[in-house]
Amino acid sequence: MTARAGVLAFLLVAVAGLAVVPLFASGYHVTFIIQVFMWMALAGSWNLISGFTGYVSFGHVAFFGVGAYTGALLITKAGWHWLPAGVAGAAPAAALALVIGYPCLRLKGPYFAIAMLGLNEVVRALVSYFEGFTGGGSGLSLPPILSIAPVYYAMGGTAAAVTLLTYRIITSQFGLRLLSIREDEVAAEVMGINTARLKLYAFLLSAAFPGIVGGFYAWYASHVEPLSVFPLLTTITMIIMCLFGGKGTVFGPVLGAGLLSVFQELVWARFLFVHQAIFGALIVGVVLLIPRGILGVLQQRYQLPRSI
């Protein structure tokens, strides 16, 4: 109980500390933390489907991209305020997840991953094709953003929401059931668990948040174009952050996103031309050496509750 209180106190201090950052930190630090928040939310979202059920969403950035376009369109064409426009990114992202998840979540193993990988390419192609609406390859330009603090809070709020939701799920029977799908889907089915429906729920949730993040991103970057909002590398980055921290845990994605963002910031500044190679080596290292991630290892070794 005291450990729990300690964790809670730590979290409160951390949140309070982060909340006041924009008041005194430089613009650079604020933008850096915005990106960390963004990765936390993305890695946490991916965790909801792939960390829990084991279904590897290899094209998760598609939901981010769809959200980004939704936000951009609502802001530029419908004149919405960026905050509701960003949040609205959740709807089409979840709708896309429904359309693709309903058939494809039946696919086993690598086939789902392949289907998701292709989905991203296709959404990008479609966005480029319907250029009257989306601006095609040249994308959409948004009005410049003059104050980044609101984006900071919005992005931070999204990251917190994903984390809180993950906590609620993991401590619920819904969460256990998602894990049972990862562990042994057939056994879960035979025990009366409607895996198809649960997978779809998890997928919708896990798609909605990248949609929101994408919506905010559009405002933040003030320009969206197919190439910048659908890169495969974004999917890989969110996966590796989640894995590094510990998939299937609450704070794994948070920790992974935080550590790797700091790491990337350093590597990118110091090893200009080899940072891709370092990132590649890092991926290989995480997969081979700590596939459970930092928290996964700690959790197993010290029998910690899954809700870390």
Binding site: Q173, L176, R177, L179, S180, R182, E183, D184, V186, A187, A188, E189, V190, M191, G192, I193, N194, T195, A196, Q300, Q303
Partner: protein, 236 residues
């Protein structure tokens, strides 16, 4: 006078490519009894289990549970009608704790479910290990866990796929006692088993499969002397 059957398998056929794994097989199970399903390796026992529980979709024939058709239902729907099963190779959820393995399948209010889960864990003396990952339990413990995971859903029909395989004598006796107890509670049990002693000691009726066909049915004593059965087991 017999009760109306709880499970009726009628002329069920299942093919894999050119191989017919289950061939026009019919069984009828009356409630409250223990049945055995035997046959040489590859005779289609597990496939039949899979067809009943919806893991495989039968190609022809009909399966009724308590009078209603269940062929064509999804596995979870079959389970919810009241059929539980174990697997030949243990399939507990290795990275869930023993307790979670039970809680994950319960329906209904959580406090009652938790109490029931702990009761069951005590019943098979796993209560001290309830927070251990199932994957870290010994083979026998996993077997017990899988067994009580079936019980917690309170099914009326229980299909057990080789419950005695790889289990030591003490544990085996406990298991057998538990199965008898289930019958006494009015459950129906269908057991696939190779250990003839188990089958003979427990089952009231035995079905024999060979090349996917039911070749004999009757009380264990009679089955043991059936020529076709001996032929199936010891070759022609």
């Amino acid at each position: 006078m017999r009760d109306s059957p709880i499970l009726e398998v009628r002329e069920v056929v299942k093919r894999f490519g050119g191989v017919t794994a289950v061939n026009r097989c019919s069984l009828s199970l009356a409630p409250g009894k223990i049945y055995g399903l035997i046959g040489p390796n590859g005779s289609g026992k597990t496939t039949l289990f899979n067809c009943i529980t919806g893991v495989e979709v039968r190609d022809a024939g009909e399966i009724r549970f308590k009078g209603g058709r269940i062929d064509g239902l999804k596995p979870h729907q079959v389970a919810r009608r009241g059929i539980g099963r174990t697997f030949q190779i243990i399939r507990v959820f290795p990275e869930l704790t023993a307790l979670e393995n039970l809680l994950v399948v319960t329906r209904g209010p959580s406090e009652a479910a938790r109490r029931r889960a702990q009761e069951l864990l005590r019943f098979v003396t796993l209560d001290r290990l309830q927070h251990e990952y199932a994957g870290n339990l010994s083979y026998g413990q996993q077997k017990l866990l899988e067994f009580i995971r079936v019980l917690i859903t309170d099914p009326e029909l229980i299909l057990l796929d080789e419950p005695a395989a790889g289990v030591n004598r003490t544990l085996l006796n406990e298991l057998l006692a538990a199965i008898s107890q289930l019958r006494d509670q009015g459950k129906t049990v269908l057991i696939v088993e190779h250990d003839m002693k188990v089958v003979m000691g427990l089952c009231e009726t035995v079905f024999v499969l060979d090349y996917g066909e039911k070749i004999a049915e009757g009380p264990p004593g009679v089955i043991q002397t059936d020529e076709r059965v001996i032929e199936a087991y010891f070759g022609r």
